[in-house]
């Protein structure tokens, strides 16, 4: 913890909201949520991190395909997720595993999704979480559309999507955020600004001073927040959600965080950045920050920590077993769910695949 105390301020964080300092000191007593929420936020982050660490190991063992890790960035997703209600919609990027865990996707489903198994895509539609978006920024106009639908129906529900800093350069980002503003749709756009888009730093993405400032051009508030401070993240997302539910339209949140790990399991960040930069951000670890604060209030102990870790290890083990037992992929998986009713030629193609498989 003392290492964090000596951290120099990072210019990226200038002007962002923080509730806790990197060493866990309370900066904004007015913004501390209830004890129950505090513990949920901590648990959510801890569980997500254990899963992420294990997923990277599983990937190395050949038990997952390419895996987009998020370790060190979990506060952004966990804080935002907990600020929502059941029924609100969530549109994650490929890096949204923590979000998916918070919104009720099971660990087995998440493992199967990163294994490239159809069962990983069979998520209860009532959870209102959409599959991890692989193409950058496609989710942004969808968010406007979903939010508009909820507005029309007067449900009081909203749609929240995530995007990376790199993703804000795509046309779909501008199109979608602008639509949401123009339609005064109940939407929240979270820019997970982790400093890099693979090897490209944010400074190459844009000449803008920061990404939240774009909000003005779209006619909505733009909020910058310390994305490694789960309490700050929870607070700004809640405010944005209330605003949306009051009918006042969307909010653009820029969460400043950092990708301490590689872009994915197949990336090597040593090629393009100084690891000292990552080390500084390790000192801003979101889990350690909240834990220090909880400990200072006597709300957390090493014993509780071990319980979470052990519980999570057991859960992951069970999830792996469940994932391993998922049915082998049948030829149908290729051709079903493309149309409600398969076209005639697709039935022929299915027969062809079956015959070819039978020869193997």
């Amino acid at each position: 913890m003392t290492a964090a105390l000596t951290l120099p301020p990072d210019p990226r964080l200038e002007g962002t909201l923080s509730v806790l300092s990197p060493s866990g000191e309370l900066l904004r007593p007015d913004l501390v949520p209830s004890d129950e929420i505090l513990l949920k936020l901590y648990n959510g982050m801890r569980r997500a991190r254990v899963f992420d660490d294990r997923a990277m190991v599983l990937q190395r063992q050949g038990k997952l395909g390419v895996y987009p890790c998020f370790g060190g960035m979990e506060a952004t997703q966990v804080g935002a997720a907990l600020a929502l209600q059941d029924g609100d919609w969530v549109l994650p990027t490929y890096r949204g595993t923590a979000l998916a865990m918070m919104r009720g996707m099971t660990l087995a489903q998440i493992l199967l999704a990163w294994r490239g198994h159809p069962a990983g895509y069979q998520v209860d539609p009532k959870l209102h979480i959409l599959p991890f978006y692989i193409p950058i920024a496609n989710q942004i106009p969808h968010t406007a559309g979903i939010a508009l639908a909820e507005k029309r129906r007067g449900t009081g529900l909203l749609a929240m999507s995530f995007i990376g800093d790199g993703g804000t350069s795509e046309g779909d980002f501008h199109v979608g955020v602008n639509f949401a503003g123009a339609f005064c749709a109940p939407a929240i756009f979270v820019i997970e600004n982790n400093g890099w888009a693979i090897s490209t730093p944010t400074s190459v993405q844009t000449a803008a001073k920061n990404l939240a400032s774009r909000a003005e051009g779209y006619g909505m508030p733009g909020i910058r927040v310390d994305g490694n401070d789960v309490l700050a993240m929870y607070h700004v997302t809640r405010e944005a959600a209330e605003r949306a539910r009051r009918g006042e339209g969307p909010t653009l949140i820029e969460a400043i965080t950092y990708r301490i790990l590689p872009h994915t399991s197949s990336d090597d960040p040593k090629r393009y950045r100084q690891e000292t930069e990552a080390d500084a951000w390790r000192g801003r670890d979101p889990g350690m920050r909240l834990r220090a604060y909880l400990e200072s209030r006597g709300m957390w102990s090493e014993e509780q920590e071990q319980d979470v870790m052990k519980g999570m290890e057991a859960e992951i083990k069970a999830a792996m077993l469940e994932a391993d037992q998922a049915a082998p992929i049948e030829p149908e998986a290729l051709l079903e769910h493309i149309y409600a009713e398969p076209l005639a030629e697709m039935k022929d193609q299915l027969a062809e695949i079956r015959a070819l498989e039978a020869l193997k």
Partner: protein
């Protein structure tokens, strides 16, 4: 360098290279020869995700080899602007599966710029895009969109299958006065090796290569499917069937003369590609063959392709989607047994 000196330099050094190394070498030569050449795209400055542009920024500086913001439409439009202004852009799309945001620029501008300015602003530009499956990549990373681009008049499409061709065709594409899309099979990047001269040389666009001679059946293919078709041909040879494998190398322009010659000789045609069957490039090929060569055919044309489905996001189902040698062999049997 003079042409003679270049030829000599080319002959002096021959190295065994992977396909991705050959692409890198072609880019180096292109940047060296003409300082109008610029290379850019997502992560390209740092070598790109496949390392195809490794070390080029060190050699030629950030003005000529650079990362762009993350936007395929932006990259494509930037290339058009640079091309209009007389530079020689080589733009990279990180994966061909991410070409879709760029399709507006391709359809609405790149394909028709020469005509809409009546020849005053031709676009000499190259777009490189790694394409295709075979490496268990995530959703969207294995698409083969060559047919979509082939539907756009005004662009050329090159798809090499050997390191030698990759370099020679890429250098020809850079010299070409028209916009050229250059699709590089991700599967072949590191799985094939071959001898490549380190100097400048070109392989002409629009000339097919007979990868294997035979007179019983013609297999038409390109890019990542060529090695698979050759494998099937070897297996067929063991059963006494001589398959001619025609590597088209470019699909626009199309070497219909070579196709015609082969079809007249064999009378049987199998077309192989990774893209979905419906409206895949095989549809164009079989239409053209039916229109012009029907009297030479002894059997209906057969297509061995991806199915009419998105390239599977389910990596564990990939082997059922992407044609393999067994499926090509079944196609060959079908046209022979007819």
């Amino acid at each position: 360098m003079t042409v003679a000196a270049e030829r000599q330099a080319a002959q002096e050094q021959i190295k065994t290279m992977t396909m991705v190394a050959a692409v890198n070498d072609a880019l180096r030569v292109a940047l060296e020869r003409d300082d109008k050449v610029m290379l850019f795209g997502e992560d390209v400055g740092m070598g790109g995700v496949f390392r195809a542009s490794d070390n080029l920024q060190n050699l030629f500086g950030e003005e000529r080899v650079f990362n762009t913001p993350l936007s395929e439409a932006g990259i494509m439009g930037l290339a058009v602007g640079l091309g209009i202004a007389g530079e020689k852009p080589i733009a990279e799309l990180q994966f061909a599966g991410f070409i879709y945001p760029a399709l507006e620029q391709i359809n609405a501008q790149i394909g028709r710029y020469r005509q809409r300015t009546q020849g005053n602003f031709p676009l000499s530009m190259v777009v490189r895009a790694p394409y295709g499956g075979g490496i268990h990549s995530p959703e969207m990373h294995a698409d083969s969109p060559e047919g979509l681009v082939a539907a756009v008049p005004g662009v050329k499409i090159v798809i090499p299958s050997t390191p030698y061709d990759a370099k020679g065709l890429l250098l020809a594409a850079v010299d070409d006065p028209d916009p050229v899309f250059f699709f590089e099979s991700i599967k072949l990047y590191r799985s094939v090796k071959g001898e490549v001269p380190t100097g400048h040389y070109t392989v002409p666009l629009g000339k097919a290569r007979i990868a294997r001679e035979g007179d019983d059946c013609t297999v038409l293919c390109y890019g990542g499917m060529v090695e698979i078709c050759e494998e099937a041909a070897v297996a067929a040879a063991a059963a006494g069937v001589n398959v001619e494998v025609v590597d088209l190398r470019s699909i626009v322009p199309l070497d219909f003369e070579a196709i015609s010659e082969s079809v007249k000789k064999t009378g049987r045609v199998v077309i192989v590609h990774e893209a979905a069957r419906r409206m895949g490039f095989g549809a164009e090929l079989s239409a053209r063959i039916a229109e012009e060569l029907i009297e030479y055919l002894h059997a209906p044309i057969t297509r061995v392709t991806g199915w009419d489905a998105p390239y599977p996001p389910f990596t564990a189902a990939e082997h059922m989607y992407r044609p393999d040698a067994a499926r090509v062999a079944a196609g060959i049997r079908k046209v022979l047994d007819y």
